[in-house]
Symmetry: C2
Subunit: 487 residues, 2 copies
């Protein structure tokens, strides 16, 4: 007896959406499950995290960032419809309304209404959208976000027209370049994206200024650790301006960005990059009255099913995830979570079983050869969560001190008073510093105390670590602080 | 009311002994606790793990391997007596007998009996001794162990007399070098020390042959992973001969090593390095009828106190430690454990409190740029422990595949059937491969299942990891194997 073929509709064809599609297809045949995925953009399954390295030139070809083409997905019986936007979600009627975008930008009337598509199961993987503050001049030519491959391509096109002095010998340039004048880039926001984009633009020969409202760049670290990032950025020749609120982007009479005004100072800008952060893209979900959290992300259960809805799943940059350290939901847009969500959703949609228990807030990045990592809670986050803590900082080296190229790293560690439970770690250093944060990420997941961490059996050999790994040195100091502080 | 000043006697002044002394001194003043440490050798507090890098030339100066000189210890009111050997331990009488070695080798009658020294508390930190099989010719000139700094110096002295062709332009050489003939080194044993010494000798310009009885080099890995190490050694130009039992070291008529015989083949050898492994140095303890385990190491409680003795502690290479994965005691000679033991002993001896819960068997090493790591149990060890397991191997990359210099690593993972508990991980790869084993080391300590590991929030950014870290890829495959295998 044949059961009715079900239809799975997926909105958004990047990491979460297409991982879910692939995983569901592994578990269910096309005869059992039809899979339709709608993507309003021009690309599916690409690595947004790789965009700064493509812009900077380390990754020469855009297509290297594409994990799987639409054709490859279709070859596996996934009905992927590119440039197709979902305009409405009818939860009661179990259907979505779509429109097909034309070859243009998708603005205006360049589209065709396709009507309603019914679904049995729905996956919301609508991602995030970059924050674009309502500044005067924000829509000037030469102001770019870097959220999607299309954004990256637009930025690269602008950069090519600005070919900085010293990078091109082209004397036929008609776009105002080739005049020997240095080209200026202003990056607004000094978080991960802003810092990575600053380095990329320096590598392309631009003079780069980064503007941020916070006390230090990289506000995903405490300010004392962020200061080390500032130093490294300055060493690269990046101008770092903090505690600077941008009030205006000024354009020339042809509508092109020419300067950014912040804190009363004008910073010249041939190009402006927005690295202010992202927000969950949940317009459809909000209109459909699906449950959203404080950060505007969808709220799900542990199986990534939207709360209160038995046949709707959501994952990736459009959801909030449980922070296992603070016990609160948080919005963290990160490709590695998005992929995990997709796997979990695909397993559950396909009739298997999987859960996503939550995150501990791990992130790693680099500026030039400076590696920057954090996991768990910052001081302010610990306070907000109602936790009383001790905070300690140590310096140690990535290798045995006598081994060639041993370099210094700084490790900050937070532990709860009384229990001694690890709450967070931040690391800034050179080679081998960043991924050491994984030690703390696992310890946080396991709920270890810093005292327990002092006995961890970590890999030791002179080329890899001092006899006490920096994380152990930090744990010892934190454990001592817990004992001395008492309750 | 003054209490009687206690005396702490420490036998052996390397990592464990002097860490214990330093820690105890921090907690107890010289008025409360007298600390006397006896060391029969010429050096205290040095990094034996660094010897191969000193021999190879990466560490130019021997003294860089010395963490603290005897004078520095004495300045902190630790009565450190060098070249003083403890010859007997009288547990009932709470005293040790010592003799002072002369300026010579310490063999024969070149010493002075110093009589008995009473103790209130005793620390045994006698370390390990290299295995010297009773082969014909083992005592020939040019046969060297590399356990101590003195061993290393003796080897270096030999190497200098053999200055290989192409390394020296010295035409006045009177030791048989400078004749254009390549110099041969044979390393017996292809474990960590043997592999590291092979690389060091290649770096010094020798032709190097490594002989081992096992199927593959690095028998601290399973054979399928050891094969990758063999390939890397061969790429360096090292001749690797396995399943070869050494039967004789042949000397010339001046008593100098000239060849090693193994499996019926003669391998020319101007110098022979023993890298066969070490055994706990517990002669004193055995004579005093202290409790020893199957591997010949002292048995202690969790506070590192010798079982059944309230005022004797032991740690470092002369003890057995609890393997937290198999539940059995094991002998693991490793500087990082020795230092931890010293800290724990010093805290307890000084009136504080600390324990050493055990190890999970983590080790990391490298050959040229190939990084080699393991933690937990090998297949054979799991079998011996009575564990039924699944074993999986994956290949992935250290960075995002599109990021420059992404290189392959292989990760092997063992998990218990039914429970899915992680049992062991082995990793072989290039930059960034080795220390990834720490993720598994923490997971083993926490008793995680491979299913739980699939959700770990590990640091992700394209320069550091693919979107699925190789350890996550391995955990996913192992989790699938656990599910499919059933009980």
């Amino acid at each position: 007896m044949a059961t009715r073929r079900e239809r799975l509709v997926i909105i958004g064809a990047d990491a979460t959406g297409m991982s879910a599609a692939s995983q569901a297809r592994r578990l269910r045949s096309p005869e059992e499950l039809e899979i339709v995925a709608f993507e309003r953009g021009d690309f599916a399954s690409y690595s947004a995290c790789g965009i700064p390295y493509w812009i900077g030139g380390a990754v020469p070809d855009r297509d290297q960032l594409i994990a799987r083409t639409p054709e490859e997905h279709r070859a596996r019986d996934i009905d992927l419809r590119m440039r197709t936007e979902v305009t409405a979600l009818d939860v009661a009627g179990q259907r979505v309304r779509t429109r097909r975008l034309g070859t243009g930008t998708g603005d205006g009337q360049d589209w065709t209404d396709e009507g309603w598509t019914p679904y049995d199961k729905l996956v919301l993987a609508t991602g995030a959208r970059p924050v674009r503050p309502p500044l005067p001049g924000i829509d000037a030519e030469g102001v770019h976000g870097v959220q999607s491959l299309s954004d990256g391509q637009a930025l690269l096109d602008t950069l090519h027209t600005l070919e900085p002095a010293g990078r091109s010998g082209d004397t036929n340039d008609t776009n105002g370049a080739g005049d020997g004048r240095p080209r200026h880039a202003v990056v607004i926001g000094a978080g991960y994206i802003g810092v990575e984009m600053s380095e990329a633009l320096i590598q392309r020969g631009f003079r780069v200024t980064v503007l941020d409202q916070a006390e230090q760049p990289m506000s995903t670290l405490d300010a004392d650790m962020g200061e080390l990032v500032r130093d490294a950025m300055c060493d690269l020749g990046i101008e770092v301006v903090t505690e600077a609120a941008v009030t205006e982007i000024r354009a020339d009479d042809r509508g092109r960005a020419r300067a950014v005004l912040a804190g009363g100072t004008e910073y010249p800008a041939d190009v402006v990059v927005l690295g202010i952060g992202v927000r969950p893209e949940t317009t459809l979900a909000r209109d459909a009255e699906l449950p959203l959290g404080d950060a505007g992300g969808l709220l799900t259960d542990l199986a990534m099913r939207v709360r209160g809805h038995r046949n709707i799943w959501a994952g990736g940059d459009c959801v909030e995830v449980l922070d296992l350290v603070s016990g609160r939901p948080r919005h963290i847009a990160l490709g590695t979570h998005a992929n995990k969500h997709g796997q979990v959703i695909g397993a559950n949609v396909g009739g298997g079983y999987a859960t996503f228990p939550g995150v501990v807030g791990t992130a790693v990045s680099k500026v030039c050869d400076l590696e920057i990592a954090r996991t768990g809670l910052l001081e302010e986050q610990a306070e907000h969560a109602g936790l009383r803590y001790v905070s300690t900082v140590i310096e140690s080296t990535n290798r045995a001190g006598y081994y060639p190229d041993a370099t210094t790293m700084r490790v900050k560690m937070l532990a709860e008073v009384r229990t001694g439970r690890l709450l967070g770690v931040q690391i800034v250093g050179r080679e081998g510093a960043g991924k050491r944060v994984d030690i703390a990420a696992v310890a946080l997941t396991a709920g270890m105390t810093v005292e327990e961490m002092t006995a961890l059996d970590l890999g030791y050999a002179p080329p890899f670590s001092p006899v006490w790994d920096p994380v152990l040195v930090a744990a010892r100091k934190a454990a001592r602080a817990v004992r001395e502080r008492g309750g």
